[in-house]
């Protein structure tokens, strides 16, 4: 039932977007000048390709994100059952799990991967 509502929501969001853009196309004026299709660069003609080479840093941060997102995916189920578990074992297990991750973070930190320059 709830996931059915989710499907209806997704369909409705599509209708919202497509309906909006379609009504825009019904109402809009259509200019003739070719100038209006030029890339916006504050009045200057763009030099070279727009899809330029960019810093490798973005890639490094994306990789680190994947590591920590997977970590959160493991931690969420643990957090749900944590309150009902007896003894210290669940705490110590997670301590080890997070310590390994922190080791990785410390390594990236030491290598200077967290610096942006």
């Amino acid at each position: 039932m709830e996931y059915g509502t989710l499907l209806v929501f997704l369909a409705f969001a599509h209708i919202f977007v497509i309906g909006g853009v379609a009504s825009n196309y019904l109402l809009m004026p259509r200019g003739k000048s070719a100038e209006r299709l030029t890339t916006y660069e504050c009045g200057l003609d763009p030099i070279g390709e727009a899809r330029v080479r960019y810093s490798l840093r973005f890639y490094v941060f994306a990789v680190m994100y994947v590591v920590f997102a997977v970590e959160a995916a493991f931690l969420l189920p643990w957090a749900v059952v944590y309150g009902s578990l007896e003894g210290l074992a669940p705490f110590i297990e997670v301590l080890i799990f997070i310590a390994i991750l922190l080791l990785g973070l410390a390594y990236a930190w030491k290598k200077g991967e967290l610096k942006w320059d």
């Binding site: 929501f9 969001a13 599509h14 977007v17 994306a62 957090a79 309150g83």
Partner: protein, 352 residues
């Protein structure tokens, strides 16, 4: 049949369930399949949500501008309608009647899909927002995980807007935005974990119920609350974290080349995300709809607008930070603090 107005306002769960049961009974008496009625209900909820998104975004934009004006000793919008309330409506109608430009050299698929990919997550997250007891479109048992998963999707939309626009400003703005959103999602997830731990459930309704009797998680987890607010502010790309659309260096960031309705969809999604971040902060840390005298829905909206005011205040108080500061703040400060907070809370739950 008289409407139980007071009950509908203060405890809507029972009358709504009674209404649904009655409608199902009437429907079944005519020999019609009940799945069709369910679909009609779901369509009505989705229509209500899209109406709410539109009206709410129009109001938040006005609210944001008024607060900005208040802080800078200006008057703000005050021409269209009472107190300028209809200003954003006029702006929307203007945008609706502007030409939708597709500049030369764009990647059509990426350029056209981007507004859709940014708007759909903002719409879909409303499924699990608890406006009141029983006023939740679909109380998924994975509520908070669903929010994290769905809202992460909008990064793809922003990247494709940057890539598809064939504009250097857009590309750099899109990449910066993506890097910022993924960096701040990590401390955000870690700030949510203590709340899930204390509740023992990811269901949004259960998280609000666990705070009943004014045991709000903001008191028990102040560090997590502050981290959530900071990371949430960074997620919605607002000052002091507004580098992706830094006007003085990147024109408008990833939506530089967008015009008319496609631009308004980005704008709508941005302000809806601001509302959603505040609404999630209220549900997780400020007791959701709980409060004396006034109806729960009113309390929920009041608290949400209180958090929005806090974020607007931060926006007009702090200067924009640099890119290197932005990334280091997330990875070198927020992440270790959030992890330490998580471990301390886990230890405290076992020892106390």
């Amino acid at each position: 049949m008289t409407l139980p107005l007071k009950e509908l306002l203060y405890a809507p769960a029972a009358p709504l369930a009674a209404f649904a049961a009655k409608a199902h009974a009437l429907w079944a008496a005519r020999g019609l399949p009940s799945s069709v009625l369910d679909l009609l209900f779901q369509l009505a909820i989705a229509a209500a949500v899209s109406g709410f998104i539109t009206v709410n975004a129009l109001f938040i934009i006005w609210f944001d501008r008024k607060i900005a004006a208040l802080m800078q000793l200006r008057k703000g919008p005050n021409r269209v309608g009472p107190f300028g309330l209809l200003q954003t409506l006029a702006d929307t109608l203007k945008l609706l009647s502007k030409e939708d430009l597709n500049p030369r050299g764009i990647d059509p698929l990426a350029f056209w899909l981007a507004p859709l990919l940014v708007f759909i997550p903002a719409f879909a997250v409303f499924l699990v927002i608890p406006f009141g007891d029983g006023l939740i479109a679909g109380d998924l048992n994975i509520g908070i995980l669903y929010i994290l998963a769905i809202s992460g999707l909008s990064v793809i939309g922003i990247l494709s807007a940057g890539w598809g626009s064939n504009n250097k400003y857009s590309l750099i703005g899109g990449l910066r935005s993506a890097a910022q959103m993924v960096s701040y999602e990590v401390p955000m997830m870690l700030a949510i974990l203590p709340v899930v731990m204390l509740t023992g459930s990811m269901r949004m309704g259960a998280i609000v119920d666990a705070q009943a009797g004014y045991g709000w998680f903001a008191f028990m987890q102040p560090v997590a609350f502050v981290i959530f607010l900071i990371a949430g502010n960074a997620e919605v790309n607002r000052a002091p974290f507004d580098l992706p659309e830094a006007e003085s260096e990147l024109v408008a960031g990833f939506n530089t080349e967008y015009s008319a309705m496609k631009f308004s969809l980005f704008f709508l999604a941005e302000y809806t995300n601001l509302f959603l971040t505040s609404a999630i902060a209220v549900s997780l840390f400020l007791g959701g709809w709980e409060g004396p005298f006034l109806p729960p829905v009113v309390w929920f909206l009041l608290k949400t607008y209180f958090v929005i005011t806090l974020l607007c205040w931060a926006r007009w108080t702090f200067p924009r930070i640099r890119v290197d500061q932005l990334m280091q703040f997330s990875w070198k400060y927020l992440l270790p603090i959030a992890l330490a907070n998580l471990l301390l809370s886990a230890a405290a739950m076992k020892l106390l």
